[in-house]
Amino acid sequence: MTWELEICRNSCNARLMGDLSEFSLTVKLFLKAYRWRKIDPIPWAALKKPLSECRLALVSTAAFVMPGQEPFDESIRGGDFSFREIPGDTDVRQLIESHRSESFDHAGIQQDPNLAFPLDRARELAERGRIRSLNLRHLTFMGSITAPGGLIQQTAPAAAQLLVEDTVDVALLVPV
């Protein structure tokens, strides 16, 4: 199950530019005008040991919540930058998807939450020894955060601290 990956730098041409055609005109105009936050300097945590010795955590921005957890707040201007902890033994079919965005098709992740929160796939990685273990908790955000100041200054550091306390080695982050 291996393919040659084409590694690019930021000077890549637009040949494989993500497709905006599925968005409404309003969303396209917003994305064109939006000032993306550039990560500078870019931090780099090199893998310190083989993946087979690593603990993995998942982070998804598909706004999944557990039954009984407070749903993400659609009314917050600039986006709800809070996160939810999802226990590692959760049955993904129990998760409730509460993403507010109307700019993507929700049908796929509602049919199979693994599509954006691959907890079953991660368990399979651990079962076959590709990773050592799965963390006891994983994190979900609602990714539609247009004003990310609170995310950058508050909740992302808090999320990182939790995963450090859990001695997580690697994280796979999946948008929707």
Binding site: I7, I42, W44, A45, L115, V170, A171, V174
Partner: protein, 87 residues
């Protein structure tokens, strides 16, 4: 915006010593925001790991992402392309 959000969270995790790889559905966002390691996938929004109830295809994307973590020769900002067609 989901694409930017995962990049910003990944950066914070890396600052705390956790190695990360992010999936990206919009190449332009990955280029502008510049996460440490990103795998651009040619799937429509809402389908970051390709298709629902397709474990083999989902594993293919995840495996490609994990490979980016393992190559010691790679340096940031790292942006790789998942093949537009795969088995």
């Amino acid at each position: 915006m989901c694409n930017q959000t995962v990049c910003l969270v990944a950066a914070e995790l890396e600052r705390h010593g956790i190695s990360t790889v992010v999936i990206q559905l919009l190449r332009k966002v990955a280029e502008c925001v510049g996460p440490p390691r990103a795998l651009f996938v040619p799937f429509k929004h809402g389908y970051p790991l390709s298709a629902p109830n397709e474990p083999r295809r989902q594993h293919a994307v995840i495996e490609a992402a994990l490979k980016l973590l393992e190559d010691p020769a790679l340096t940031p900002p790292l942006l790789a392309d998942f093949p537009a067609s795969f088995p």
